[in-house]
Amino acid sequence: MHETSLVSALMQQVEAAAMELRASAVHRIRVRIGELAGVEPQLFASAFELFRERTICAAARLEIVTAAAAWTCPGCGAAIAPGQVLRCPDCALPARLASGDEIILERIEMEVPAARDRGRNVPPRRERTMEATDV
């Protein structure tokens, strides 16, 4: 269940971004997970459910985009289908993974109180943020 560790890292990255913009809530998070990243999207989503309680992400929607594995020949650029021998039949070069091993926080949508409220000294929810980081 390394998905738990990864969601913990996700929370820290989201919290940091939210703090920087003084966001009051996170509405939506999009994560891209490659087919060969070794991460089970279902377990990742379950871990997020546990982590988000009482944090700035409490009401956030998690969107997981999965990326298929794509192997190509570094010589001629030909695609090598997953499941095949990972060597270009023409060039005899070992295939290279073009995508499919990524675990990326792509995008966050946050609620940021309007500019006129920003000059205030207290970044909202700082305490709650710290608490969430310790989970």
Binding site: A17, G38, L97, E102, I104, L105, E111
Partner: protein, 273 residues
């Protein structure tokens, strides 16, 4: 503007991040890798299922390399320090990393453990990961090379079922091959075929710690990797001196913890972890 529900709320701001969730781990892994390279140390991340024979193969390795290469080991386990004690008995200075419920080692656990292991006096550091074919594959520890132990009893299709682990391996050690006569259903050619479909540059050594088969080939592989590391180190040193730099490797410890260089009686005069 809110794009979630289409309400058009101007206070909802989208931010493009595009950062790996492994970014923090990867930073620490790079840091570990710099340490290993500076000391010309070959660091092997040894992974595999529980019971695949990781500890036994290290015991066999220790007896073969005695007097040739100096070894050290970190051994990750959920509980107990049994593996580290076994390795200690085999003559490898070892330290156990007990992960509790953690299913894998990460770069920071390794970095912390290096503070307590006299690894600088070694040529070869084995990091025996937690027995698990899934989670350890995700975390870079800063190793020079990744080796996966796969026992013949685990079945031919393990590489196809756990492609992430095998894709990242530099070498697969097919262990316990002395058992093959008792396993009529296991075909080594089928295992090699599965590896060719998961590893771009498949490399497998069939071995047995019990019979000694294949151990020579494994030792040779280790010595070749170690020679590469030493040669790269010499090249780097020449380059550095050629430009009139000093000996200080001068990298930053940007990972937010102190190394305690100034502690009285510190056993780490080198000033690195």
């Amino acid at each position: 503007m809110c794009e979630t529900c289409g309400c058009g709320d101007p206070e909802v701001v989208p931010v493009d991040v595009q950062e790996s969730l492994l970014a923090a781990n990867d930073r620490t892994a790079r840091h570990n890798r710099e340490h290993f390279a500076a000391e010309r140390l070959l660091a092997i991340n040894l992974m595999g299922s529980p019971g695949s024979g990781k500890t036994a193969l290290l015991e066999a390795t220790a007896s073969r390399l005695e007097g040739r290469l100096r070894l050290a080991a970190l051994s990750g386990d959920l509980a107990t320090d049994r593996d580290a004690r076994r390795l200690g008995k085999a003559g490898i200075p070892s330290l156990s990393i007990t992960t509790g419920s953690g299913c894998h080692l990460d770069a920071d656990l390794v970095h912390q453990a290096l503070h307590d292991l006299p690894w600088r006096q070694s040529d070869l550091l084995f990091i025996e990961n937690v027995g698990n074919l899934v989670c350890p594959a995700v975390y870079d520890l800063g190793q020079t090379a990744s080796v996966v132990a796969l026992a013949v009893t685990e079945g031919e299709d393990k590489p196809l079922k756990y492609p992430t682990m095998f894709r990242k391996a530099d070498l697969v050690l097919l262990t316990k091959v002395d058992l093959l006569p008792h396993l009529p259903g296991v075909d080594v050619a089928a295992i090699e075929d599965a590896l060719a479909r998961t590893m771009p540059e498949p490399r497998m050594i069939a071995m047995s710690a019990a019979s000694g088969e294949g151990v020579d080939e494994w030792i040779q592989w280790l010595e070749e990797r170690r020679a590469e590391v030493a040669a790269a180190g010499r090249l780097a040193a020449r380059h550095e001196h050629g430009h009139g730099h000093g000996h200080g490797h001068g990298h930053e410890h940007g990972d937010g913890h102190r190394h305690g260089h100034a502690e009285a009686g510190s056993a780490r005069p080198g000033g690195r972890p």
